[in-house]
Amino acid sequence: MTVAALPEGAPAVGDPLRTIVDSYVAAFHTYASEPGEFALVRAYELGRQALIQGLGVLEMATVHSVALTVAFEGAVQHPGRERLLEASEKFLVEALSPFEMAHRGFREANTVLRRLNEMLEAQSKRIAYALHDEAAQLLVPLHLGLADVAHKVTPDIATDVQGMRGLLDAIEERLRNLSHELRPPILDDFGLVPALEFLCTSVSKRWGIPVHLHAAIDRNLAATVETTLYRITQEALTNVAKHARATRAEVSLVRAADAVICSIDDNGVGFDAAAASERRGLGLSEIGERVMGLGGTLSVGSRTAGGTSLTVRIPLEY
């Protein structure tokens, strides 16, 4: 059969969509004039092909709309408008069915990702505990033992022993830091906002950059969300301190209707994407993965006033 001329605005010849459009229009025409499983299989196969080619649902809607326009133009003379509408629905549903399959796969993967995140979180907690409460505790008797020995030996040896005690202090410090990095105990003890306050204060003190915190959330968030937001802020502030040459930074945590939004802004030099992927790549991509695992989004941009703005949005259902 000859396909009627496509309406204005339809994809042009050469457009990858065009091949799908032509086949779709023809298959829909067949189905509308002779409804049956054969044409529905075509609809489904076209949808499948489109999905594999990387077309989206919106493009399928466009394709369908073109087919419907063509069909209606041809259908004016015969009394088939209602039948055409019914056929339109059935055909479209069939063509979208592969997308439904893909969508379900995506949702499932997301659930798995979330579970994985929770597992990692629990593991981090366990390791943090082992480092801090177990390993560090073992060092205490060693410390006391050495102090005791220092009293019983010649001054020369006592000096050496004191040196060893200094090393022990360094090890303890390192263990504590590692443990805090894995799972900041302050999160468990006080919750996200006090933890962020503490973080901002310590960054201010350590790097001499005033960090202002604006936190307005009125409910507790899931543990994974809290840890993620904490880590993101930590990572972002470290970036600001180390690379941005900023004189101040601002952390804001607010609740939208269906999401929690956290942004970290600074007035530094901004960053150029190429250099950033070298320098900050690891930190940022790690943040991106964490956020994705919670179904959220991450955007990094330069502010008009100069500096960098990093915004994270995590849906509240988590």
Partner: protein, 167 residues
């Protein structure tokens, strides 16, 4: 709009036995035709047979009372398992039947082949095993469209996929 041709909760269904067709007065003719249908069997040797298999399941599932969108999902699952048969075994068969368990009614689809069999079932049920599966289609895709999904396979003997969708 799908028409509900009979009430699947009707007691008569509880005593359904496909070898002894119902003659009870409560059964409508539509119901009787579902019950009498027993199971539909479609040989899958070419993609044209997929059309027939989908046709069978759509008719049966529509009599059972499934909505239009669910009919589409069931037909899609059939397409995916049939495609798998053609691709890996060359030929096979699909049977479709009405089922009832407790107070649930539904359809059961069995797709079997005597092909080479699948050595690693876990791998085959993972997304990304083949091109289409990367997009969440293929056998894992079919699993997500149905309520129950079971796959058994034996090397050199063949593969059987059993899927159910409940009303």
């Amino acid at each position: 709009m799908s028409k509900r041709l009979f009430d699947p909760q009707m007691a008569v269904l509880g005593t359904y036995n496909r070898d002894a067709p119902q003659t009870g007065g409560a059964a409508t003719s539509a119901l009787r035709s579902v019950l009498n249908a027993g199971e539909a069997r479609v040989r899958i040797r070419s993609s044209a047979d997929i059309v027939a298999a989908r046709q069978q399941v759509r008719e049966l599932a529509s009599l059972v009372g499934f909505s239009t969108s669910n009919l589409t999902l069931i037909a899609t699952a059939i397409s995916e398992v049939a495609r798998n048969i053609l691709e890996y075994a060359g030929e096979g068969e699909i049977t479709v039947r009405f089922i009832r368990e407790g107070n649930r009614t539904g359809v059961k689809i069995v797709a079997s082949d005597a092909g080479p069999g699948i050595a690693d079932l876990k791998a085959v049920m993972r997304d990304g095993f083949s091109t289409g599966q990367g997009m969440g289609m293929g056998l894992p895709g079919a699993r997500r469209l149905m309520d129950d999904f079971e796959i058994t396979s034996e090397i050199a003997k063949g593969t059987t996929v059993t899927m159910k969708k409940w009303l």
